[in-house]
């Protein structure tokens, strides 16, 4: 919704605050032939350089993951990602947008590069990291 709240004298409502979204990029299962590399795709790099991008992380391959659980009050470690599926979380991008449509447009643009299986768009609680 994020309807601008500010009521102006002329009866118009002024632009409201921005929202923050996380774009969770899911990658397809990696084959041994196409390991994840340090180099970033130029199309993604171009998006990440925009001023509305707050930050991003790229995750190394899912097989490098270790999952920590608590079972019967003991820490249990397992090799591999928590969700065992064909697609895995490959990265996360934080962006500013006016509203969901703005965030969806960025996701659609990234998805068109055909590098990701899907991108999940989630609103983010508005608080500065470390301010809690």
């Amino acid at each position: 919704m994020r309807r601008p709240f500010v009521y102006k004298d002329n009866g118009k409502l002024e632009k409201g605050p921005h929202m923050k979204y996380a774009l969770l990029a899911y990658s397809r299962e990696e084959t041994s032939g196409e390991r994840r590399t340090r180099e970033m795709h130029a199309g993604i790099a171009a998006v990440l350089e925009r001023p509305n991008v707050d930050g991003f992380v790229r995750l190394q391959s899912a097989e490098s993951a270790t999952t920590v659980r608590l079972e019967a009050r003991r820490t249990l470690l397992t090799d591999g990602p928590f969700v065992d599926s064909k697609e895995f979380l490959g990265g996360l991008i934080l962006i500013d947008a006016d509203n969901l449509d703005g965030a969806l447009a960025v996701a659609a643009e990234l998805q068109e590069l055909d590098l990701t299986a899907a991108i999940e768009v989630r609103p983010v609680f508005e608080q500065e990291l470390g301010s809690a």
């Binding site: 919704m1 709240f5 009521y7």
Partner: protein, 397 residues
């Protein structure tokens, strides 16, 4: 009578409040209070000169009071409370200064980030002014289920930041399609005993949309399509039994409504390129002309099929082709379609086979159609057709 005023005002009042308050839930609560107050006062003191303005002002003031009272809410919407206090307190007498934001509300409710069933429910609740109970009844789900569905949708709108806005030009065609689909889906739920008349609700919503988007040919055409089809509602059943178009009593058709639909269709066509609803409305119109111009109907279905890529359209095209080139040509089209779960494919096939005298095949097709059809007039109609077939020929064990 007051109820009629309320039904007509609800969407208009709510939309403006959502714009002012930035939250559907808050707007709904405030509107409800204002309408309750009106129900109490208007019969006693008379209706105010500007009912819309009165309702909006009253609701807005209630919302401000609530925000002041409720500290938790006040913290969340501190900013909002401050801004609202600065608004003039006098009742607004000039409706012209109140923006009609129903269009914004329609696009919010029909946002594709919401599940389709939530879009439908929310649209009926907010713009149609149906109560949660009525929406639940219309879709035959328990009140609790519908209540949760609506709350969840409203929460998603708030938390995910689904905009309260008419989409920009580049996104409009796609987003308008979603709105039209929701309204047409409501229309096709039709009407049932003791239930809300959803066909009329859809027409009501269609009217709002056509009024707010007078230059969108597809919006006009959807209303035209619904009006033309709905005009035959009283002829479609006789003693609760289904009556086919050719056997309908034309004196039961609502000619005035058909004429209105036709006029809208003409306006829609004059606006340019024919979209799916223009084509469907044109076909609906051709169907009610005697004698039916099957050539033209087949042609339009062909265009519609290319436009939508929908095999369901091809079933209808097959019927028209069957009227021109005979049942075999129609069967050829049907047998090329991958639509085994579609009951009308089987009932159409059955009818064509029956006309060709291939009774055993017709029986099988009717039976398949019956398997896919819920109890009711349609099922009884199909059973009757099966019963009319000659006794099955002896088959080898």
């Amino acid at each position: 009578m007051l109820e009629d005023v309320f039904r007509d005002e609800w969407g208009r009042v709510l939309a403006t409040l959502v714009g002012l308050l930035g939250d559907i839930e808050l707007a709904e609560e405030a509107a409800q209070e204002a309408f309750a107050l009106a129900a109490e006062r208007w019969p006693r003191d008379g209706q105010p000169q500007n009912p819309t303005g009165w309702l909006i002002t009253t609701a807005r003031n209630r919302a401000t009071d609530r925000i002041r009272r409720d500290r938790t809410l006040a913290r969340k919407t501190e900013q909002l409370g401050r801004e609202l206090r600065d608004l003039p307190e006098d009742p607004m007498d000039d409706t012209a200064t109140l923006p009609d934001e129903r269009l914004e509300l329609i696009f919010t409710c029909c946002h594709p980030a919401l599940a389709l069933e939530a879009q439908v429910a929310l649209t009926l609740r907010t713009l149609g002014g149906l109560s949660t109970e009525e929406v639940a009844g219309a879709f035959l789900v328990p009140f609790e289920t519908m209540s949760k569905r609506l709350s969840r949708a409203k929460r998603k709108i708030r938390e995910a930041g689904i905009p309260f806005a008419v989409p920009p030009a580049h996104a409009l065609p796609e987003r308008l399609d979603a709105v039209l689909a929701v309204i047409y889906l409501v229309f096709n739920q039709g009407w049932g005993a003791g239930r809300v008349d959803l066909a009329s609700e859809a027409i009501r919503l269609g009217r709002v949309l056509a009024t707010l988007m007078p230059d969108e040919s597809e919006a006009l055409a959807l209303l035209a399509l619904m009006l033309i089809n709905d005009a035959r509602r009283h002829a479609r059943f006789r003693d609760d039994e289904l009556v086919l178009l050719d056997e309908q009593d034309r004196s039961l058709w609502n000619e005035k409504q058909m004429a209105e639909g036709r006029a809208l269709l003409e306006r829609a066509m004059a606006l340019g390129a024919a979209g799916p609803y223009v084509l469907q409305a044109a076909i609906a119109d051709l169907h009610v002309h005697e004698p039916r111009d099957w050539e033209q109907i087949a042609l339009l279905y062909g265009t519609l099929s290319r436009l939508t890529g929908s095999p369901v359209v091809d079933v209808n095209r097959a019927i028209a082709v069957g009227e021109i080139d005979g049942p075999e040509a129609a069967l050829q089209i049907l047998d090329s379609l991958d639509l085994d779960d579609y009951r009308y494919l089987h009932s159409t096939r059955a009818d064509l086979l029956r006309r060709l005298g291939r009774d055993d095949e017709a029986r099988l097709a009717y039976e398949r159609a019956l398997e896919l059809t819920a109890e009711g007039p349609e099922q009884r109609f199909l059973s009757m057709r099966v019963a009319e077939l000659p006794a099955p020929s002896d088959r080898d064990e």
